[in-house]
């Protein structure tokens, strides 16, 4: 196993063990949200930071993952009505699907939609691409609202089991899964950054015409980015119904997913895998603290103020600030 993956796993396990010490369930509830945003912001950064394509539709990919889970869970509870009697025993054997399987399925669904969206919209640049992704979010939300099987506008309940054998509360299990997903996405992002793919992404971000002239197949690489980014977001969304217990379109397609998954990488820095992680831990923790101490509405204000501050003071985020310092020192 590569050293970095090993370190990431050790850090994740240490975080998990540390949170278990005080025996406060809320730590896992709050921690889950933060870790979930590490996945989302890292996923956003693969397309937004590495390739320079701003995706406003993070909520759509996240919700696709969440609603894949809802659809499969609903299917699981209505098996006897939906499948022929002869096949029922087989389906009873595999349903309800374990959450890791749901994560994979959510990732596949969102990855496919990411690929499709990319194919349709990647000829657009800048603000136009951002608008197209925002539109995707609206279209999908409308579809879900009108799809009764997954609860329509009324939302759907997903019953979370009380305990996970060997771990204690089910929330801890969900947290651990999300932690694993965060490790996975960070390892993927870091691998991309150092690979041939990452160089191609950087070339696309910097100058697409020059990238083409240097032999970079820009459309293919952008499709890889939208697919990967979408898939990771869908994976982050898949366990969400079990976390929240009741999923309504308004919460799955919430604006905060789109805004946070942009704000966190921007604040942390978009050119490196560590940027989204730093941004998420800072902003995510701050949000959780203000939610408890002041009010949840202050969150949004906080994101806005911080985003403006960073755009003015440190347009390349915290990582960019540090890199500039180092660069200036080297030139002296």
């Amino acid at each position: 196993m590569p050293l970095f993956t090993g370190i990431a796993i050790v850090v994740a396990l240490a975080v998990f063990m540390l949170l278990r010490v005080p025996n406060i369930e809320y730590l896992f509830v709050a921690g889950y949200t933060i870790v979930q945003y590490i996945v989302l912001s890292t996923a956003w950064n693969i397309l937004g930071g590495y390739c320079g394509y701003v995706n406003f539709g993070s909520a759509a990919f996240f919700a696709l993952g969440a609603y894949s889970t809802v659809a499969l869970a609903t299917f699981g509870t209505q098996l006897d009505d939906l499948v022929p009697e002869s096949a029922a025993p087989f389906f009873h054997l595999i349903f309800p699907l374990p959450i890791p399987a749901l994560i994979v399925i959510g990732g596949i669904v969102s990855g496919i939609v990411g690929f499709g969206t990319g194919y349709l919209t990647l000829r657009l640049r800048g603000a136009f691409f951002a608008i197209a992704t925002l539109a995707l979010s609206v279209v999908l939300a409308t579809l879900v609202v009108n799809w009764d099987f997954v609860g329509g506008s009324g939302g759907a309940y997903v019953v979370r089991p009380g305990e996970f054998p060997g771990l204690g509360s089910y929330m801890q299990y969900l947290f651990l899964l999300m932690l694993g997903l965060a490790v996975f996405s960070v390892v993927v992002a870091r691998w991309i950054e150092r690979s041939r793919l990452g160089f191609g992404f950087a070339a696309i971000r910097d100058d697409e015409l020059a990238a083409e002239a240097s032999g970079v197949p820009t459309l293919r690489l952008k499709l890889i980015a939208t697919t990967l980014s979408g898939a990771l977001m869908g994976m982050a969304g898949a366990p969400f119904p079990y976390y929240i217990g009741y999923l309504a379109p308004a919460s799955a397609f919430g604006l905060e997913y789109a805004v946070n998954s942009i704000a966190m990488p921007l604040i942390g820095g978009t050119t490196s895998w560590i940027g989204p992680v730093i941004g998420t831990i800072l902003l995510g923790t701050l949000q959780q603290v203000t939610t408890v101490t002041i009010s949840s509405a202050v969150n949004v204000l906080l994101v806005g103020v911080l985003l403006i501050a960073f755009v003015i003071i440190a347009p390349n985020g915290i990582v960019g600030l540090v890199q500039d310092r180092l660069h200036a020192r080297r030139r002296k």
């Binding site: 950087a202 070339a203 910097d206 083409e212 002239a213 240097s214 032999g215």
Partner: protein, 243 residues
């Protein structure tokens, strides 16, 4: 000699404006061709159509025996067509060395298999030395002067190890000695077997470099031949100096 590049009757319009009107051009393997013409005569559009940055509406481009029509720019680069841009377009967030890595990772890699990291490093260093930027390998393009930017642009085009290199005004704004440097560099490249098309306004450079000269005026090719004959051609003189 077989033609390496064969452009036949290509046409390109931008709305009602005819940028290229029925242009044919042949470039033989190993040749040094100069392409000149007044501003707005269609030189860069021709380059863009040859390299796939723009797609020509009429006519055809053949390179190295293959039809290029419909191929994206990167596919043409993979087949050995490389160009520098008139206004340098470096990758601003990458160091100079990494700028040169891009064509190696994507074009040379595609053509002759994966390169070892040490190999890439050595080639980058060699190219930067060729254009005199070896001390700035770790710098970002924003630290460069315009002149150095042009050298980087040329180095990046060379990093793709092309069969045909199109240098689009690589010398504009350069001092006399710098022009000499770049000219010597291009001649050396040519001697190593690379065909070069040079687009340039600096006549002394074009005249000393080119074995053949083609002249574009208002999207039409009005002359093509030995440089000393072409510059005496009355049509060319009229295009540059007026009646």
């Amino acid at each position: 000699m077989t033609a390496l590049l064969n452009v036949q009757n290509i046409g390109k319009r931008f709305g009602g404006f005819v940028a290229l009107d029925d242009i044919s051009l042949e470039v033989n393997a190993g040749e040094r061709l100069g392409l000149i013409g007044p501003n707005g005569s269609g030189k860069s559009t021709l380059v863009n159509c040859i390299c796939g940055t723009l797609q020509n509406e009429r006519g055809s481009v053949h390179f190295d025996g293959h039809a290029m029509n419909g191929l994206a720019a990167h596919e043409r680069t993979h087949r050995g067509l490389s160009r520098s841009f008139q206004l340098p377009r470096p990758f601003p967030s990458l160091t100079l060395a990494d700028n040169l890595c891009i064509p190696m990772l994507y074009t040379v890699h595609k053509r002759s298999g994966p390169l070892h990291a040490d190999d890439i490093g050595a080639r980058c260093a060699e190219l930067l030395r060729l254009v005199g930027l070896e001390n700035k390998a770790k710098h970002l393009p924003r630290d460069l002067t315009q002149v150095e930017m042009r050298k980087l642009e040329l180095a990046r085009a060379m990093a793709a190890e092309p069969k045909l290199l199109i240098a689009d005004e690589a010398m504009a704004g350069l001092s006399h000695s710098e022009i000499e440097d770049i000219l010597a560099l291009l001649v050396r490249l040519n001697e190593s077997g690379i065909t070069v098309i040079m687009i340039e306004h600096i006549m002394t450079a074009v005249m000393s470099f080119s074995q053949r000269l083609a002249v574009l005026v208002s999207g039409k090719k009005i002359a093509d031949g030995k440089p000393e004959d072409v510059v005496r051609n009355p049509d060319v003189v009229r295009a540059y100096l007026g009646e």
